[in-house]
């Protein structure tokens, strides 16, 4: 049995490890198309500020990890698949093709290149790969003017690194708040206010329309509202799209990403997909969509691997969409149906002066979504309550009245708590 995994991000690596754990004699190959051992994009911001060395971003720290557990990690880029002959064609001088019995597509996603005149200009980069990070690390000098295009999750993750590198940062976001796909108006607005208070210049509701090299050597960025920004560097973070370019038309069913069932199986029975490239089941909505987050990639990978060994052995229960973000020290999280559900109830606490926000979304007596800013303790119980679908009973009303009693609600609902008996000894 030869399992081939295309892609060496968390989904690919976790799937490979899961396969080796549960099927020791299987041959497992990971196809890695980057010029580095498998690494985590989540760690790139810490690399950018020199908190860690490049190897600190690696998914597994031991150099021989993959060979030691019998995983073949090979370099190469997939150019096409022949489903009929179960063959992968590679853009590689040594390995031209690869045969598989079961295939996992964990090809991840790539940054969108905005259709802007001058986007190819020297000094404009995305910040997605280690190679991008190396480029930026070399390029940014203290005091440089840097424009960040896009204040989504990725943009906000690297925002701090850019500021800590000493850049004078200007953010341009098309929508009216920060992280619009992860935070509601109140929370996204609060993150914006926080960044403003830290000296970051932010333009929301506008976008870059044109980039040109100025005579001064700097970049000139023309905004849709007519303003012109000058910058030494521009970083593009305007969203990502699944990597499906190797697929021929209608080779596999594809929507936004590759469609899968609850076994993470694609429209071809021997081909599976996981991670950013897969439209997996969303726990909160019951629909299939791309989440493009680390925990979901890992969920997908473990389910896919088990089904590659034995189809039907485990069913994906749906991944909960959740994010945690540290924006210049302001920590924010969102979980599940954070925007609420139809006929649901919600409660918010907002303290603008102290940058604290807490929002819970209920459906009946179930917690279905949550948003927090400035909360670092026991925040995981929000996931626990949402995903376990534990009925809160009376606690829902108490939480609507005083949401700070979250831990009481959680513990009361999940643990058998007794009363102190010493007084009756």
């Amino acid at each position: 049995m030869h399992h081939v995994i295309v892609g060496s991000g968390p989904a690919g690596v976790v799937a490979a490890e899961t396969l080796k754990t549960h099927q020791k004699d299987a041959r497992v190959t990971i196809l890695n198309n980057e010029d580095a051992p498998p690494y985590s994009r989540m760690a790139i911001p810490y690399y950018l500020i020199d908190q860690i060395e490049e190897n600190g971003t690696h998914l597994r720290k031991n150099k021989d990890h993959y060979s030691s557990i019998g995983i073949d990690l090979i370099n190469g880029e997939l150019s096409a698949i022949d489903l009929a002959s179960k063959t992968l064609l590679l853009n590689d001088s040594t390995n031209k093709s690869l045969q598989y019995d079961k295939l996992l597509l964990a090809t991840g996603s790539s940054p969108n290149i905005p259709k802007i005149q001058g986007i190819e200009t020297e000094g404009v980069s995305s910040c997605w790969t280690l190679a991008d990070a190396r480029y930026l690390l070399n390029k940014i000098k203290k005091g440089d003017d840097v424009v960040l295009m896009g204040a989504g999750f990725i943009g906000c993750i690297i925002l701090e690194a850019l500021v800590k590198s000493g850049a004078n940062l200007t953010v341009v976001e098309m929508e009216d708040r920060m992280v619009p796909r992860m935070m509601n108006d109140d929370a996204g607005g609060m993150i914006k206010d926080w960044c403003l208070s830290k000296g970051v210049v932010i333009h929301t509701g506008t976008r870059v329309e044109e980039i040109e090299k100025l005579d001064s050597g700097k970049l000139g960025l023309k905004l849709s509202d007519g303003k012109i920004l000058e910058a030494n560097l521009a970083v593009s973070a305007t969203g990502v799209s699944p990597n499906t370019g190797f697929l021929k038309k209608e080779q596999l069913k594809v929507g936004q990403g590759i469609l899968v069932n609850r076994s993470m199986q694609t429209s071809d029975p021997d081909v599976f997909a996981a991670g950013d490239v897969a439209e997996g089941l969303d726990f909160s909505t019951g629909e299939y969509s791309i989440q493009a987050i680390q925990p979901t990639a890992v969920d997908h990978a473990r389910v896919a691997a088990k089904n590659m060994i034995q189809l039907g052995s485990v069913e994906h229960q749906g991944s909960i969409n959740m994010n945690v973000l540290d924006t210049l020290g302001l920590i924010s999280c969102s979980f599940g149906a954070w925007a609420g559900v139809k006929d649901g109830e919600q409660v918010s606490l907002i303290n603008k002066d102290r940058f604290k926000y807490f929002n819970l979304q209920f459906e009946d007596d179930l917690l279905v979504g949550a948003t927090s800013i400035g909360m670092t303790q026991h925040v995981g119980v929000l996931r626990g309550l949402i995903q376990s679908r534990i009925r809160l009973g009376d606690w829902k009303d108490r939480l609507l009245k005083d949401p700070t009693r979250l831990m009481e609600a959680y513990l009361s609902s999940t643990q058998a708590l007794g009363f102190n008996s010493k007084v009756f000894a």
């Binding site: 606490l349 303290n351 102290r354 604290k356 926000y357 807490f358 400035g374 909360m375 303790q377 005083d402 949401p403 700070t404 009693r405 979250l406 831990m407 009363f419 102190n420 010493k422 007084v423 009756f424 000894a425």
Partner: protein, 616 residues
């Protein structure tokens, strides 16, 4: 070390918060809490100031062992000049805010001046800020607590605040922390409210380190915890029964003041005792007591958490009172119960909830109600004065109505908020007030416990059991048994208890540990934590120093020997029943010897030599 060596000075007039170094010279002489803050207060205010004027200051203060692993090391005190007594006030509280202050990096908060508008102090580690309390003024302690936790979105923030009683000028309002722990006595909350300071919110995660000798400290604290765990009172009596373990004991020895001290035994004592709190009630089969509860770091856990009978008249249609909250301690069960002649456990529990909810001292309140009942029964006040309340001994309805009115300062509640002394004076019967220096008595009748009479008469904050608890020796035999009806040796005994207690009150530890601990157990803990050489002897000397400092403050404030006395009833009217039958308190036999033992003149003034010896 063990101190954070940092003082937060809050000028309410100017609206500023400033950090300054702790005066370590004073800390080495006065430790912390009661001693250290008294030293600051004596230095910084004129003892003659009006207690409710902006010139008075209010100090929240921790001890060196507050916030450490030492058992009961969570205490803090509020020190100021009392509006009730005109003397120095130091009210000690447990709960969790003291440890939080230390964890935020502070030993002490000094509040001075008066804010133009209601404010609260928010402290997050070394960041301190005054914020508007416009929305909080007029709210109860419980409402304030919930609002502030929500505003700061932090269930672990620790909050101390005043309730509506303090805002209304009740003279015995306390500062309540953690919902039902109280710096309760002498009106320290009234001073806080007079400064328009509604609350103090503290959150800290800096930790308490600075332990001089960590290894010795861990050993000493572990040894001391063992002593508590092996002592019958601290290991069994207090956790199971709470301080209420005393109710039946004190009643039996005939030292249970009853109906405003007209009697010394209460026929209803068993109905309001610890044992009664354990009895399942008819309505829901549950007992009054839900659990015992510990303050920060306390391995005794004497705290009571109780509920009112859901069918009781006091909470009909009031679901907000149906949950559990701080229950009856012995002193509150006595004052709300025996002293008023009320034997309805649920009425007492409810009245105690109200005292916590709106922040007033249940001892002074119960005793004031008792005085009002005697005024009413003797015809000195009428239904017109009470707003229609039949203030009769034994009336639960009168008690609970009185509590509700005192909470908000409405109607007769305004009179009750004056305290027993001013109330009895107002209605022309000063002799009915059972107070010393204007502060109401606690739950031990000086006719049945002679030493306590001297302790009350000489207490620097007015009548108080916690300034020299000779009951420990006279009734329980700790550390040695003395005869409660004899005056022999009592001056020395009282002095010894007063000095030792002043030292314990300055460490950050709880005085209840002394049912099991002596200074021999406490000194090694202090010595390992703090710089300097702390022995039982040096602690006792620090205690004596503190006592004399307080005394000097009081004398400078205008108090005299004449204030070291007891109400005539205790000196002239003999106990009617029990072992003390026929006895009065023989204060005159003890006071001169006490002055001498203290190294004071016959006028009760510390001799220059004494002050010099103690470096006061």
């Amino acid at each position: 070390m063990a101190w954070q060596k940092r003082v937060l000075r809050v000028d309410l007039t100017k609206g500023t918060c400033n950090e300054e170094p702790l005066n370590m010279e004073w800390a080495m002489q006065y430790l912390g809490q009661r001693g250290l803050a008294s030293r600051y207060l004596a230095e910084e205010i004129d003892p003659k100031v009006d207690a409710l004027s902006p010139e008075n200051k209010l100090i929240m203060v921790t001890g060196p062992l507050t916030g450490t692993t030492a058992s009961t090391g969570g205490r803090y005190s509020v020190v100021t000049k009392s509006p009730l007594t005109g003397a120095i006030a130091c009210s000690n509280s447990g709960g969790f805010i003291g440890a939080e202050m230390k964890n935020a990096g502070w030993d002490m908060f000094i509040f001075e001046g008066k804010s133009e508008k209601p404010v609260y102090l928010h402290v997050e580690n070394l960041k301190a800020q005054l914020l508007s309390a416009d929305e909080l003024w007029g709210k109860s302690v419980w409402e304030t607590d919930e609002i502030l936790h929500n505003v700061h979105q932090d269930p672990l923030a620790k909050i101390a605040c005043v309730g509506r009683s303090a805002e209304q000028g009740c003279l015995y309002s306390g500062v309540i922390n953690d919902l039902h722990r109280a710096a309760g006595r002498s009106g320290v909350g009234t001073v806080m409210a007079s400064k328009q300071l509604k609350a103090v919110v503290v959150r800290g995660n800096l930790g308490v380190g600075n332990i001089e000798n960590p290894k010795a400290f861990l050993t000493a604290t572990a040894e001391a915890k063992k002593v508590l765990a092996e002592n019958a009172v601290t290991a069994e009596g207090l956790p199971q029964m709470g301080t209420q373990v005393l109710m039946n004991v004190i009643n039996e020895v005939g030292a249970m003041p009853t109906r405003n001290f007209k009697e010394v035994q209460f026929e209803g004592a068993h109905k309001i005792s610890a044992e009664a709190m354990h009895e399942p009630r008819e309505s829901d089969g549950k007992p009054n007591l839900v659990t015992n509860a510990a303050c920060f770091g306390c391995t005794i856990a004497c705290g009571r958490i109780s509920t009112v009978d859901p069918k009781h008249y006091t909470i009909e249609n009031k679901p907000e009172y149906m949950g559990a909250s701080g229950g009856l301690e012995y002193e509150s069960a006595w004052s709300l119960g025996s002293d008023t002649g009320v034997d309805d456990l649920d009425a007492l529990t409810y009245a105690n909830f109200i005292c916590n909810e709106d922040g007033f001292d249940p001892i002074s309140f119960g005793a004031t109600v008792a005085a009002a009942m005697e005024l009413f029964e003797t015809g000195a006040i009428t239904l017109k004065d009470t707003g229609g309340i039949e203030m009769r001994f034994g009336s639960a309805e009168a008690l609970t109505k009185a509590a509700e009115l005192t909470a908000t300062g409405e109607g007769f509640g305004r009179d009750l908020g004056l305290g027993s002394k001013r109330l009895c004076e107002k209605y022309g019967k000063p002799e009915l007030s059972m107070t010393v220096k204007g502060q109401e008595f606690p739950a031990y009748d000086p006719r049945g416990v002679q030493g306590m009479g001297l302790a009350y008469a000489t207490s620097n904050r007015g009548a108080c059991h916690l300034r020299g608890y000779t009951v420990s020796s006279e009734i329980m035999g700790v550390p040695v048994k003395t005869d409660p009806l004899s005056t022999e040796g009592k001056p020395e005994l009282v002095k010894g208890f007063q000095d030792a207690t002043a030292a314990v009150d300055s460490t950050g530890l709880c005085t209840f540990t002394t049912f099991a601990w002596t200074l021999e157990d406490i000194a090694p803990q202090v010595d390992a934590a703090c710089e300097g050489n702390w022995t039982p002897e040096s602690l006792l000397e620090a205690g004596e120093r503190i006592w004399n400092l307080e005394r000097k403050f009081n004398l400078d404030a205008g108090l005299t020997k004449e204030d070291d006395t007891l109400p005539k009833r205790l000196l002239k009217d003999a106990a009617k029943t029990g072992p003390a039958k026929g006895a009065v308190n023989r204060l005159d036999e003890m006071l001169p010897a006490y002055y001498e033992a203290r190294g004071w003149t016959e006028e009760g003034e510390p001799k220059p030599d004494t002050l010099k010896r103690l470096n006061v």
